[in-house]
Symmetry: C2
Subunit: 477 residues, 2 copies
């Protein structure tokens, strides 16, 4: 890991230039006092500490465009930022860049219930987007831990995944159209509501997942879905990731797209949650080596029948050992609460080296087996802590430090462990960043794991769309 | 429309250069006799007639790469071609280019049932891909009229849509990874099976839908889906597109993603089919102004219950006037046969001016109403003939010539009619090419209907990835 915490350098932005940027957003919406800038410079894991002379909070697409135009003219680097919840340092000004916060672009521009679309600005908080959809009896299915503070612009710029991706896809698949400000201030008005549009190159997907390095997404047309009428959630105990994979196959063959979540959880995760989580109970009476949290969502009254049929068949086939279906909404919430605190509770057991990897779904059992063995061989007593979205082949392969060991000594092995685990991932045809992106954290590693021609093409695209390298420089590439 | 049928020009490819290209594929796989080249130069609607001195039929990605490398070195333009079923002249060598046929790249490289993926080469025929999936109890849902001869490479290069897009998405959404040969012969090895991979810019979607102008897709990893256990198909009679839209909303709220097809058909289409189609019967006893062909696919035994519940509710709400559910497979096939011959039977009534447009789903009734009025005002006696994928907002807005009129006189109005209809489409936030692409047919029109900045960015991307303009020159841009 590249932990970037440079010594606070002299901040160099001429008063004249600052005044020109300020004139765009107005004094009220520029932040210059260091104590007010501070929240834009750190992030939740405290891995990165940036520095910046100025935060701009534009209130319209035109203001974002004017900022980019001036930044280009004066070769001033800027870092676009949404809810500042990214986990790879992509939203942090590591080199004293101006931060352009999109949070004030928070309007829901339109909801079209018949076309099943919602046009929102980049600064709309994900939870607000979800609620807005729910208010018109629709579902916006993107869902992830940070949904109370992350923004749609950040979700799209990082192509967020989360718990709903199994049935509904990642963020990329939920956007029909985009409005994007280019490095030189030109604006692409691509707010299309169309499900089919074959009029030229797909610019939309170029900006989605580009982490703000090719353009700044200012608004998007998002897909809405019918709200499920019945949802059933089960906690299942089983013997191995291989059995979990069999359960996945059975579930998909019987439920298809109604299988909306399928999360794999190792026993150690449950133990940490029960020990350290806020009023978390073990969902099953006995202890099992592995667990699956699965959910069926249906537009009809049949989710219960479906989940019962799946579990009955899996029990018959000897795939699962125990299962409980949430009896009510509170129990369902408790299941998901457990899932959500898995990552945070690791802190109580000391340091955690984290991976956000994906492999072909069929390779997940092999990934976990090989990585567990390799990690323990590397660090005696290390505690592999795997969990994640099995249905997407996306495992958050975390490792807690040896019990009672020295946290700093353990965390100093971050790069060693990553090298080993990412090596296994690469050999299995996987990705070193399934959903969190590259940012600065994995930038140095990327060339070792990605096709060289693909990297070369990425560099060409960056040079084409941001020739002066003013948009989030030093991120991704 | 730009009908490109230049006079046969002197074909100028030096024997020396031809020999160098031939050495790559071997004499056996180069085509030089004009009568053998002929099938590569025309297309099914006979709108375009190209000319070419040479057709190369490479047998491997390495051969395609060598062809591109030599083409770049010698600045020789090439036109990639799959099944030659495109409808906008994108696969035709309009300027005497060398044709590079991908048909010999027809291997299924791998099927991974557990990961639900299939890795296929560009020349695999769509129907073969469908059958290959079916053989392992999976569904590859891309489905369109030309599926017996179109190829996966062409489907991806044109981002094909078709009848399954409502539930499963367009071709773009069915590809997880791509292998692409660039203009200079470099190869991007991007055959990823990953559902989540956030390691940099999304190159995949840049090549999908680019109509072979940015690179040549040589292989792809395609998504497979669980095969539905029950499928039910209904033919519904109703009063208006507005009622069809209401039926769509009811259907989606009750069936969600199990609603796998929703096709709108005007009465005149049924009449032409019954009159001219091969043993086509009117599916309903009475006559209705509008029809919907809808299909429910379920992984359980409940498709029948679902479609009956939808139709019952729609009948209760007065949305539909009559409906029949296919009683058996033969009847289901008959319904779809009717849908498939809608476009071909128009020939029996003379000339047809065709549009492939999309608008936001909610705007379809307005599109049809306004276009019908405008077209008849423009050409007295013109017979609007709208049908298509209402669930995707994608209407094939065709117009048959006045009964008994002069075909040539009518067809000469193609551009006038397009101007009027595309103007309405644009005003409603629509697209002038929903699924067929731009090719040469709509190239001149595109700048009138697409965001100018988007076009400028497209041009930059073309210049970056194909600086010598050797890949399918003159298409799209």
């Amino acid at each position: 890991m590249t932990i970037v915490s440079p010594p606070p350098k002299a901040v160099t932005l001429s008063p004249d230039l600052a005044a020109r940027f300020a004139a765009i957003v107005g004094d009220k919406h520029m932040v210059t006092a260091q104590q007010d800038i501070a929240p834009y410079l750190t992030e939740e894991r405290n891995l990165y500490q940036g520095y910046s002379p100025l935060v701009l909070r534009p209130g319209s697409t035109a203001e974002v465009a004017a900022i980019c135009k001036l930044a280009s003219e004066t070769r001033t680097a800027i870092v676009p930022q949404g809810g500042n919840t990214g986990l790879v340092g992509g939203q942090t000004p590591h080199h004293g860049e101006i931060v352009v916060s999109l949070r004030r672009l928070d309007r829901i521009r339109e909801i079209d219930v018949q076309s099943n679309t919602m046009t929102v600005e980049a600064g709309v908080v994900l939870a607000t987007a979800q609620q807005t959809a729910a208010d018109v009896d629709r579902l916006f299915p993107l869902s992830l831990g940070a949904e109370g503070s992350c923004t749609i612009g950040g979700n799209l710029s990082t192509n967020a995944g989360g718990n709903g991706a199994l049935a509904y896809g990642v963020a990329r698949e939920m956007a029909l159209g985009l409005e994007v400000v280019l490095a030189d201030g030109r604006v692409i008005n691509g707010l299309s509501k169309l499900k089919k549009d074959n009029t030229g190159y797909d610019l939309r997907n170029l900006f989605i997942g580009a982490e703000g390095t090719l353009g700044i997404i200012t608004a998007a047309v998002l897909k809405l879905f019918p709200k499920p009428r019945t949802v059933e959630t089960a906690f299942v105990g089983l013997k191995s990731p291989a059995d979990a994979l069999k359960l996945l196959t059975v579930s998909q063959s019987m439920a298809s797209n109604s299988l909306t979540s399928f999360e794999l959880i190792a026993r150690i995760c449950i133990e940490f949650c029960v020990k350290h989580g806020p009023s978390i109970r073990d969902p099953l009476t006995g202890s099992h080596p592995w667990y699956v949290l699965m959910e069926i969502s249906s537009p009809r009254e049949d989710a219960r029948d479906t989940i019962e049929a799946i579990l009955a068949q899996a029990m018959d086939e000897g795939i699962i050992d125990d299962a409980v279906i949430a009896a009510n909404l509170d129990q369902r919430k408790a299941f998901w609460k457990l899932r959500e605190v898995i990552s945070p509770v690791q802190k109580a057991e000391g340091g955690s080296i984290k991976h956000d990897v994906s492999v072909p779904v069929a390779m997940v059992p092999q990934l976990i087996a090989e990585a567990n063995e390799a990690v323990v061989r590397l660090i005696d007593g290390a505690r592999p802590f795997p969990f994640g979205h099995l249905g997407d082949g996306n495992i958050h392969y975390n490792i807690s430090q040896p019990s009672g060991g020295d946290q700093k000594v353990f965390m100093a092995r971050w790069n060693d462990v990553h090298t080993v685990v990412h090596g296994i991932v690469a050999r299995l045809g996987g990705s070193i960043s399934a959903e969190h992106g590259i940012g600065v954290m994995k930038r140095e590693e990327l060339p070792h794991f990605k096709d060289a021609t693909a990297i070369a093409v990425m560099r060409s695209l960056k040079a084409t769309l941001d020739p002066l390298n003013i948009l989030n420089p030093g991120k991704v590439l």
